[in-house]
């Protein structure tokens, strides 16, 4: 396990406290994500995984603590200063959050038009490439989000998230609601993005298969605390009832066995 106080960390969270109204979501959460790593947050529903993600991407203001992304403190950052940072990361939301009035291609192109000086024809080509990279058929680009199936919408959302070739990618439940085949396609995609583009990926997921196959390190959250951080193998040896239940429950066991078979 790497120490969380390394200065080179892409994301460095220290002593974070967040709150929704009076409900405390996080208490004293600290973690660090290293460059080129696939880092995953897991935990039961309502444990604050997505809230943590929202705090990092500046959609939510924490009560206290520090979040550094690429060495820059994001808490209290104004929009103007946040823009260069926002260009360096891509976010894929749980339900896609594609703009429903634009086609898939326009959704991806919008980001490029907004943040680059490329010509319209090159943007169209880059958009088609991104759409192909996520495994969507070429004709998907001209479709509107509501004409796509759930799995295709996820891929389209991913295409938009990687439009600017970000160094850091946030994925919120990338495989939720997908059939096993599409989900394993996403596994491969996440891995190949990291390997080829050298991305750092932070994801929130419940998908044990995805975790075993892709995650380098995993943080288990429960009731606003981190129960443990480590590789899946390290975590599966952790002696905490909740963690054990998570890994040794019927679903956890099946996923683990499959992962070992592959190795």
């Amino acid at each position: 396990m790497k120490k969380s106080q390394e200065p080179s960390a892409v994301i460095d969270i220290r002593a974070l406290h967040t709150r929704y109204g009076k409900a405390v979501v996080h208490e004293n959460v600290s973690l660090a994500v290293q460059p080129g790593e696939i880092f995953s947050l897991v935990g039961g529903s309502g444990c604050g995984k997505s809230t943590l993600l929202r705090a990092i991407i500046m959609l939510l203001q924490p009560v206290s603590g520090s979040i550094r992304v690429f060495g820059q403190e994001v808490i209290g950052l104004n929009d103007e200063k946040a823009l260069p940072l926002r260009r360096r990361w891509g976010v894929m939301f749980e339900r896609g959050a594609l703009f429903s009035s634009l086609t898939v291609a326009e959704n991806v192109a919008m980001v490029l038009h907004e943040h680059t000086q490329l010509s319209a024809s090159l943007i169209d080509e880059v958009v088609a490439l991104k759409i192909a990279l996520t495994g969507l058929p070429a004709d998907a680009g001209a479709k509107y989000p509501n004409e796509l199936s759930g799995g295709m919408r996820k891929r389209a959302a991913l295409a938009r998230a990687i439009a600017l070739d970000p160094e850091l990618l946030f994925l919120d439940e990338p495989t939720a609601g997908l059939d096993p085949l599409s989900a394993s396609g996403i596994d491969e995609l996440v891995k190949s993005l990291r390997d080829v583009l050298g991305l750092t990926i932070m994801m929130v997921t419940h998908d044990l298969d995805l975790l075993w196959r892709t995650a380098d390190r995993v943080a288990v959250l429960d009731k606003g605390h981190i129960l443990g951080i480590g590789s899946m193998t390290e975590l599966s040896q952790l002696d905490h009832p909740l963690v054990r239940e998570y890994f040794y429950g019927p679903r956890g066991r099946a996923a683990r066995e499959q992962a070992w078979k592959k190795k």
Partner: protein, 379 residues
């Protein structure tokens, strides 16, 4: 951004060799943010004539998919002109990326936009408005059947949503309806006072305000306010429910959306709108009365005496009878447009707008029809 964060290009043409060779040295940051300066030059280069190309990528310090695509596209364009291209010196990880892009490029064609001709778009418009009309008729029919069914089984009428709608569409509309109607009374008295004074017919201000408010203005004004307040809310609510599949969920649970969503709204509005209209009558006359007092020195008691003579029960009823009809129009159009929503947030906005425009239009058309009918009946 400093200059070193952009992509750079050095081109050197060797004409003495056969075939002529172009040496291209790429350097700098070939990323989506950095490639803009070299895009034009590469495009121009690809169209020049040369038999052999050597691209040296050893000085590229960063390459992402957009940069790799630009390289790949240039190389492909050159190859299509029959020239030979060799790329060398790329870092191994950049090479992998370039190969990945080349492999994916086969399937990456920008989708051609579908063009619709003028005639075809006129046809599509006409067809969709026809479908809209027939859909509206079907919806009216459905609502009527649902209404008859609940008359047969009165215990199935849902009182809670009716009361809730009475609260939101009726009670909560009281302040705005009252204020606007009061101002309308003030305006009419103000406009009329000047004219009446010229003929020395000051007292007839009570006839003017009373008749115009009771017969025409307060039913119309109230209906327009309610169409803007509640009709739009109905369309937006049902539309959003449709997008989030809540309507489908209702159907699978065995609750008809008509029964739960449409009927309570119609019934509540049929009750609320006449009441609001009466309230608007009072507020409007009050406004006129205050104005008559301050401009024409007609005391309240004189005004009210004259009002009693000027107004008959029929002038009150001809106003109030329209309100339930307007209510049905507003609720039906609002709900119908809500069900017409398909797709996303965009569609909710569009149908909400359509619901308000259509219901106000239909309310005014209905009002005109009422005038014609009342004229025939000599009311």
């Amino acid at each position: 951004m400093t200059a070193k964060q952009f992509a750079q290009l050095e081109i050197e043409t060797v004409t003495v060799s056969v075939p002529p060779t172009v040496n291209v040295r790429c350097a700098g940051v070939w990323t989506v943010q950095g490639i803009a300066p070299v895009e034009q030059r590469l495009a121009a280069l690809a169209s020049s004539d040369a038999g052999k190309w050597v691209i040296d990528g050893s000085a590229i310090s960063a390459l992402d998919t957009a940069g790799a695509w630009l390289l790949h596209r240039t190389m492909r364009a050159v190859e299509q002109r029959g020239a030979r291209v060799r790329i060398s010196g790329l870092r191994p990880e950049f090479n992998t990326l370039l190969q990945l892009i080349a492999a994916r490029a086969a399937t990456a064609e920008p989708a051609a936009p579908v063009k619709v001709g003028l005639l075809a778009s006129i046809g599509q418009q006409a067809w969709s408005s026809l479908l809209g009309v027939s859909g509206m008729l079907a919806f009216i029919g459905e609502s009527a059947i649902a209404f008859l069914r609940s008359l047969a089984q009165p215990h199935r009428i849902r009182w809670r949503p009716i009361l809730h709608n009475l609260q939101t569409a009726g009670f909560e509309a009281l302040p705005i309806t009252g204020l606007l109607s009061f101002l309308m009374g003030v305006v009419i008295a103000y406009q009329g006072a000047d004219q009446l004074q010229r003929f020395g017919a000051n007292i007839f201000i009570a006839d003017l305000v009373g008749l115009s408010m009771l017969r025409e203005l307060s039913p119309l004004l109230t209906a327009i306010i309610v169409a803007g307040r509640s009709g739009s809310a109905y369309a937006a609510q049902i539309g959003t429910m449709k997008i989030s599949e809540e309507i489908d969920a209702l159907r699978t649970i065995g609750i008809g959306p008509q029964e739960l969503l449409v009927q309570p709204k119609i019934l509540a509005l049929v009750i609320a709108l006449p009441l609001l209209t009466v309230y608007a009558d009072v507020a409007g006359v009050l406004g006129g009365m205050l104005m008559a007092n301050s401009m024409l020195d007609i005391s309240f008691s004189v005004f009210l005496d004259r009002l009693e003579d000027a107004l008959s029960l029929s002038s009150f009823l001809t106003g109030i009878i329209k309100a339930p009809v307007f209510a049905v129009i507003i609720a039906l159009v609002g709900c119908f447009q809500g069900f017409q929503v398909s797709g996303g947030a965009d569609s909710v906005g569009r149908q909400t707008t359509v619901s308000v425009v259509q219901s106000i239009f239909l309310v005014i058309v209905a009002d005109a029809l009422f005038s014609v009918i009342f004229n025939w009946l000599d009311l």
